[in-house]
Every structure is written in structure tokens, then in C-alpha cells.
């Protein structure tokens, strides 16, 4: 079938989405860490349009954009499905994957900015959490968004379960107040305790150092 390579950077949550999908389906792959300050010829060749990670290269064919990669993995390796088989349920899942992908970026605004811009990021993040808490199907009734097993929506929201905590600690801004989003909190706990996810999460303190350094660099450049 051809070998699988993943171009990513540590500890990017977008890289991790792909790692989780590959691990959940038991697909062997070679991980190649990228240096985004000095982009490799392989990266530039594989993703000439966006020049970003993650990129999956399968049998020499590159696929870019984490959500598109997840859909490719799902199409190519149907075992341990990440999406429901029913077209309607699949459309609902895709809606939430898109929502997570777009709105999830708000938490990074809290990291990247201070003052008014940071407050705006916080407001957007809270709105996102409120919408998920109130409207996401299955939340609170099932273990995961995907039901009893992890699905694509869980992977898309994964950054809330681990990376958001690092952002909160580094900035001193609490995005998710304890007790305010009970269903989401339960989901986060379930997600992080899943054996595959647990084994494939960046070490918190190492990640914290990277996140802290990122914030310092960004604020210094302003």
C-alpha cells in the first residue's frame, strides 16, 4: 500500500490529531519533525500552497490540512471508524469537526495577545465552549462525541483537553472555569484517559515550556 510519513512539529495539536488517528487505526508511520523556521525541501514540495504542517505522505502522495488528512485516513483505512456510517450522522459529525477546527483557534488568541486583543480571544473562546456545552450532540450522554469510541469530533477538539490548560497556566487567564462546563469537563477527562490518547500526549511540563517561550517571543516582537 505504500509507506506512510507524517511531517509535523512538536507539540502542535494539529500534528497530534493525525498521530491519534493513525494510532487508533493501528497504522504504522514514520514521523519526521519539521523546523518551521527553516522549512525543509520535503515540506515545501509536499505542501507548496500553505507550506504548513501537518502533511501526510502516503506512497509518495502528499495530503495537507489536518481535517482533510483525517478524512483521508478514514477513507483509506476503514477499521476503527472515526465517522458514523449513516450519511446524516456523518454530516452532523462533520459540522462539529468544522466548528472545532474554526472556533478552536480562539484559545490561541489568548496566548498570542495581551490587553484588548486577548480579551477578545477569551470572549470568543467562552462563546465556543458555551455552544459546545449546550448544543454538541451526545455530550453528557455518551463517553465521547463519537459515542462509546473516540471519533473525529473528539480528535478535532482534543486541543481543549490538554493544550488549553497550558495556555491558561502560562497566561494566568482561566478560559474554562471549573464547574461551569460540566459535560465538557467530563469529556476532557474521558478523552485524556483513553489508553491510545494517554500514550500519545505531549508531556505537560515540556509543552508548558514551549508555550511559555512562544508567548514571550510573540509579546517581545510587538
Amino acid at each position: 500500500m505504500g509507506e506512510v510519513k507524517l511531517l509535523g512539529t512538536w507539540p502542535s495539536p494539529f500534528s497530534y490529531r493525525v498521530i491519534w488517528a493513525l494510532k487508533l487505526k493501528g497504522i504504522p508511520y514514520e514521523y519526521i519533525e519539521q523546523d518551521l523556521s527553516n522549512k525543509s525541501p520535503l515540506l515545501l514540495q509536499s505542501n507548496p500552497v500553505h507550506k504548513k504542517i501537518p502533511v501526510l505522505i502516503h506512497g509518495g502522495n502528499p495530503i495537507a490540512e489536518s481535517v482533510i488528512i483525517l478524512q483521508y485516513i478514514e477513507d483509506k483505512w476503514p477499521q476503527n471508524p472515526l465517522l458514523p456510517s449513516d450519511p446524516y450522522e456523518k454530516a452532523v459529525a462533520r459540522f462539529w469537526v468544522k466548528f472545532a477546527d474554526e472556533k478552536g483557534l480562539s484559545i490561541w488568541k489568548v496566548l498570542r495577545f495581551s490587553g484588548e486583543e486577548q480579551e477578545k480571544g477569551l470572549k470568543e473562546s467562552l462563546e465556543m465552549l458555551e455552544v459546545i456545552e449546550e448544543h454538541a450532540p451526545g455530550l453528557g450522554q455518551k463517553k465521547f462525541f463519537g459515542g462509546d469510541k473516540i471519533g473525529m469530533v473528539d480528535l478535532a477538539l482534543g486541543q481543549l483537553a490538554h493544550w488549553m490548560g497550558a495556555i491558561e497556566e502560562v497566561t494566568g487567564v482561566q478560559i474554562m472555569e471549573a464547574g461551569k462546563f460540566p459535560r465538557l469537563e467530563t469529556w476532557m477527562k474521558n478523552f485524556k484517559e483513553d489508553p491510545v490518547i494517554k500514550e500519545n500526549l505531549p508531556e505537560f511540563k515540556d509543552m508548558l515550556a514551549v508555550v511559555k517561550h512562544r508567548r514571550e517571543t510573540l509579546l517581545a516582537s510587538k
Partner: protein, 219 residues
Amino acid sequence: MADDLILLNLWSSPFGMRVRIALAEKGLDYELIEEDLSNKSPLLLKMNPVRKQIAVLINKGRPICESLIIVQYIDEVWRHKSPLLPSDPCARAKARFWADYVDKNIYAIGKLVWGATGEIQEAAKKELIECFKVLEGELGDKPYFGGDSFGIVDVALIPFYSWFYAMETCGNFSIVAECPKLVSWAKRCMERESVSKSLPDQYKMYCFLLELKTKFQAQ
């Protein structure tokens, strides 16, 4: 209705047009409900409580939201006629990538081309042409982005053709001069009934967008 389909739409929305094109490609009957976004219907708010936006397709009473998700849904349920996505996973990923590229760029940049003025407009014009050139590169010598058959990338992009007159007039530039291949592609798409019946007249769109522009500027 035989297929039990309702589309909550806005005549001027490129996203609504995508869905109408897909429904027409599949030969499906549906009820078209025109929404007033300044006075959103209870049905819209019930069916899309998260985004409160059109397009929403309601099939057997259940809502599907987000235009490209709706197009994929239509393609999967009515897969035997006029497939809009290839069956090969690699080709599908490529199609999704380019549909996503359109989604991430054309609406936001196009809006500034017809809607803004001065430096912002000039920067947007430049960016738009750059995006169109990238898309031309992807199109190559193929009749459609989907190859020989009309596909999801074509569906994603062609509604913005209805903005061309407005963008050229407001921006005082010629898209065909810079991107002749893309305009040929657009005209080829317009020969399809599914497209010509779903896109409004460019002049009507121009008048509508001009009105919106005046409103933005007043704010």
C-alpha cells in the same frame, strides 16, 4: 415532496448557490424557502441554532448545515447520479483540499474587492488575482477542477462568478485579462443548467452588493 427536501436559502448567497447546484445536478425536487436574515425565521433558528445561518438543507425533517457539508451529504445519499466527489481516497482528499482553499479565501477576499475602498481594496484585488492564479494552476488544461466531470471544487467556486461584474466594476479591473483560463472555466460551468439556473444575473448581484456596500460604509 418526493425526496422530502427543504432548502433554507438566500438568493444572493454563494453558499446557497452551491447547494442548489448540487441538488440540480442530482435532479432532486425540493422546496426553496427564502430567508430574511434581518428577521430570521423560527425554522432557521431551530434548524441551525449554532450558526443561525443559511444554507440549511432539511431532509425528512433533519437539518444539515454548512454548504460543503451539505453538498457531500447530497453526494453520499444520492450517489448514483452525477457524483461530485471521486471514489479514490487520494483524489477525494485533493478535491477536499481545493474546496477548502476556495472556502478559506474567496469569500473573505472577494468581499473586500467589492466592499472596500482605497488601500484595503487594492490589497484585496492583488490577493484575489493571486488566489485565482493558484486555482488556474490547479485547473491546468482540465475542463473542470473535477477533471472531465463537474465536481465539488467546481461547485464550491462557481457561485463566486456571480460576483465578477461587481468586483470588476467596484475594483476597476478586469479579471479576464489576468485570469483568462478561469473565466473560460466559469463560462463552461455556466453552460450547465444546474449552474445557470442557480446563479443570479451578475448585474442584479452588482446592484445588491452596491446597496450592502453603502450600508457598510454608513456603519
